[in-house]
């Protein structure tokens, strides 16, 4: 019964989505207010129906309803509750429903927070989002129905892939999809602006918080994925440039370019057509990612098992949505105005240089990801493109980005002077060089790569410090003390500074762990010890444990330092009863300055085990940095400036209006 309700909800949602996607847009073109006013209630109904379907699927999982094929394929009665719920998005069909749910969530938010927009704009935005929803609903109902029944009903299910039975599974996909799908808002704003012809600085101001919010969620989503790989895969890596990882990273790169480009467009009304194009590209990359992951076109550990027939449908959908919006762009963009002037040396230029770098980085990742496919399709053989390529190409592009990150915020809008900037930043340069070399020396050895990484990191910190220092200096007319001046800093600016510090933390963590990580692979029998970096690891015990749906060999590793106990770790080798794949559960002791990482390898003759012990310095700063970036984004998106109706020349805007 419940699956049928879900099924009907999806069908009704499709009908509503089609109405939402057509009438308001036509109404905006013809000036028909009654058609346009359908947009909001349609969006809300759309949301409600999809939510009902989602709850029905979740309920089928919780109730162990194995008469639903999707539940039988992805769940099991012994599966703990939280993974039964996460199982909803564990496979292709359910993850599509999650995608749709997120789209509807953003759609609802837009319908609620768009009161200040002119009606045709709202109508078009919600209309476009409705069409995207309709496309996904059509795809689901035609090829990937999560409510399909299975007869005869099996006694129990296939169980969720053991790799997914993890807290990471509960949070990573939802956050990731919030981000991916969130770019549909910027996309819809862009298409609405192209349709309506009203593209100005105000449009940029409206679009910015939505874009920043989506970017924040995507940052968190990618961060969670990376953390999860780190502690689940057992070999301590955190990024492999896998096609599916790249599929999430490309929208992030485009999104980062977009939030910086929006700054220029909001400030100067300039480069509007470029910003609109970026908004279209960011979401297009999200859609492309959806295609790559589900079509079987690329080989990846993350790929959903699916067939080329579905791939064809998604490709057609891509062609229509992206092709349509790019065609609209080609038609309307030439008419878009130039905005106002700025000098060759200015903050605007630096932001645009940032754009060039990020877009080139994104295109490089795209090139590397699709190149094997390209050669194969042309009959020119099969190659692989992996981390060696991406690391070689991507990292050098980020060096100038980080350099600009330091200079940009200090440069004046419209016209900046290089000698002036050099003078203001010279202490930052000196401090960064000294700090970088000192860090290398303290860590034990100075290498070129690590020094460059530290330099990048400390440069940003020093430049941010310089920026804050300048802002708290007494300025003409403002009499408050330095604390007061700090408090006057607009939230968006604080957000920017924190996000940039996040990048610095990230660079620091990466440099540290890549250069100074220590690893020991040893044969340990119970009672043996090994020493790494001053930590002594004693293999105290090994026993057999029963999990809810697995059996495991669990080791007990006592870690001490200078005789004082540090932590007790329990690395495991699990075998899940239903799917029978062996899984390595690494035991990690996270710390501010290092992670201790122990994983069990294979048993060898004599009762000993191969044990891998790592000491990874500052590795958590990688994700700490991402968290700071996300925090910065959240602060920037919630700046009052976006919620206060902007009045021309109003003194009230001075305090909150200082541009980030």
């Amino acid at each position: 019964m419940i699956p049928e309700i879900g099924q009907i909800a999806l069908l009704l949602a499709l009908a509503v989505a089609l109405i939402q996607g057509t009438l308001p847009i036509l109404g905006a073109a013809r000036g028909r207010s009654d058609w346009m006013s359908i947009a909001r209630p349609a969006a809300q109904t759309h949301f409600l129906l999809v939510a009902i379907a989602f709850v029905c699927l979740a309920s089928s999982f919780v109730r162990n309803d194995f008469s639903v094929l999707y539940v039988a394929t992805n769940s099991n009665s012994a599966l703990p509750l939280q993974y039964r719920i996460a199982g909803v998005w564990g496979g292709h069909e359910g993850s599509l429903l999650l995608w749709l749910m997120m789209l509807c969530g953003w759609m609802l938010a837009v319908s609620q927070f768009s009161r200040h927009l002119p009606q045709p704009m709202t109508a078009r935005i919600l209309g476009v989002m409705g069409l995207i929803g309709a496309g996904f609903l059509l795809f689901m109902l035609m090829t990937s129905n999560p409510f399909e029944r299975l007869f005869p009903v099996p006694a129990d299910g296939n169980d969720l892939n053991p790799l997914l039975q993890d807290p990471g599974m509960v949070v990573h996909p939802p956050m990731l999809y919030m981000g991916y799908v969130g770019f549909s808002v910027a996309f819809s704003y862009a298409v609405a602006a192209l349709l309506g012809g009203n593209l100005d600085a105000t449009w940029a101001r409206w679009t910015r918080p939505w874009t920043t919010a989506a970017w924040t969620f995507l940052t968190i989503g990618i961060m969670l994925g990376s953390m999860w790989a780190y502690y689940v895969l057992g070999w301590g890596g955190w990024w492999f440039w896998d096609p599916v990882e790249n599929a999430s990273f490309m929208p992030w790169l485009a999104g980062t370019a977009l939030i910086h480009s929006l700054a220029v467009t909001e400030k100067r009304g300039a480069f509007k057509s470029w910003t609109v194009l970026l908004a279209i590209i960011a979401f297009s990359l999200s859609l492309l990612g959806t295609f790559l992951v589900r079509s079987g076109v690329l080989s990846s550990v993350h790929a959903f098992a699916t067939d080329p027939r579905r791939g064809l449908f998604i490709l057609a959908f891509l062609a229509v949505v992206i092709g349509g919006s790019l065609a609209l762009y080609a038609w309307r963009a030439p008419k878009i105005g130039l905005g106002s002037r700025f000098e060759l040396v200015s903050r605007e230029t630096m932001l645009l240089a940032n754009n060039v770098l990020f877009v080139v980085a994104m295109l490089s990742v795209l090139l590397g990801t699709l190149y094997p496919l390209l050669l194969d399709a042309l009959g020119m053989g099969k190659i692989s493109v992996g981390p060696p390529y991406f690391d070689t190409v991507f990292v050098p592009l980020m060096v100038p980005v980080v350099f600009l990150m330091g200079v940009g915020p200090l440069a004046r809008w419209k016209k900046a002077e290089l000698p002036d900037l050099a003078k203001r930043l010279k202490w930052a340069v000196v401090a960064a060089v000294i700090a970088a070399l000192t860090t290398g020396w303290l860590a034990g050895r100075i290498t070129a790569g690590a020094t460059l990484g530290f330099l990048m990191s400390f440069w940003v910190v020093a430049a941010v410090a310089t920026d804050v220092w300048e802002r708290v200096q007494p300025a003409g007319g403002v009499r408050a003390g330095w604390v007061g001046r700090l408090a006057l800093m607009p939230r968006a600016m604080v957000g920017m500074l924190i996000a940039h510090l996040g990048v610095a933390a990230f660079a620091f963590g990466v440099s540290m762990v890549n250069t100074y990580e220590l690893e020991r692979d040893v044969k340990m029998a119970v009672g043996d010890t090994t020493e790494v970096s001053g930590y002594t690891f004693l293999f105290r015990d090994l026993k057999n444990v029963q999990g809810p749906n697995y059996e495991a060999m669990q080791g007990l590793m006592e870690v001490t330092r200078n005789g004082k106990p540090v932590v007790v770790l329990h690395p495991e080798k699990r075998v899940y009863r239903v799917q029978k794949n062996p899984m390595t559960e690494a035991a990690i002791d996270p710390g501010f300055t290092r992670d201790l990482y122990v994983s069990l390898g294979e048993p060898v003759d004599g009762g000993a085990w191969i044990v891998r012990v790592y000491v990874k310095p500052f590795v958590d700063w990688i994700w700490g940095g991402c968290l700071l970036m996300a925090l910065g984004g959240a602060l920037a998106a919630s700046d009052r400036r976006y919620r206060v109706k902007q009045k021309q020349g109003s003194p009230a805007t001075v305090a909150s209006g200082a541009q980030a």
């Binding site: 079509s295 490709l315 092709g323 080609a330 194969d376």
Partner: protein, 178 residues
Amino acid sequence: MNMKSLRFIIPLGVFALLVFFLWRGLRLDPHEVPSPLIGKPAPSFALTRLDDANATLRRDDMLGKVWLLNVWASWCGACREEHPLLVEFSKTKAVPIIGLNYKDQRSDGLGWLNRFGNPYDASIFDQNGRVGIDFGVYGVPETFVIDKQGIIRMKHIGPLTPDVIDKRLMPMLRKLNA
């Protein structure tokens, strides 16, 4: 549309190209690895026979004949699929078939052939899989066609099907035997 506005079409053009390649990509298999050994001499080997640990079969023993090398193992499920077909095909005596028993146990291999039939003129025993690696084997089953000069002419990955035998194998054999 004048020259200046032509550049706004570039994104659409690039996208169209992308869609074309993605469409082509849907027909390709990203996991299939083509062999670099086609047209090159078969790697030299000297392995004991599966049924007689004292007898050795070498690559050069097969010179002068067109022959098939079929990689199989008792633990391989997909080999079970192609085996009846292979047994039938061997009865036509169209071409000598040598089996490469890959990473198996002698007793398991022989037992498997006893149970399911033996299409091979002889099977050679590659316990540690090194000869397999030399042939670029990365999965089981795989089938190679080797000509009279000992050059590899064709490699088929996966179980043989009637289609493959009729449309690819037989024409190749006819050509090589001519």
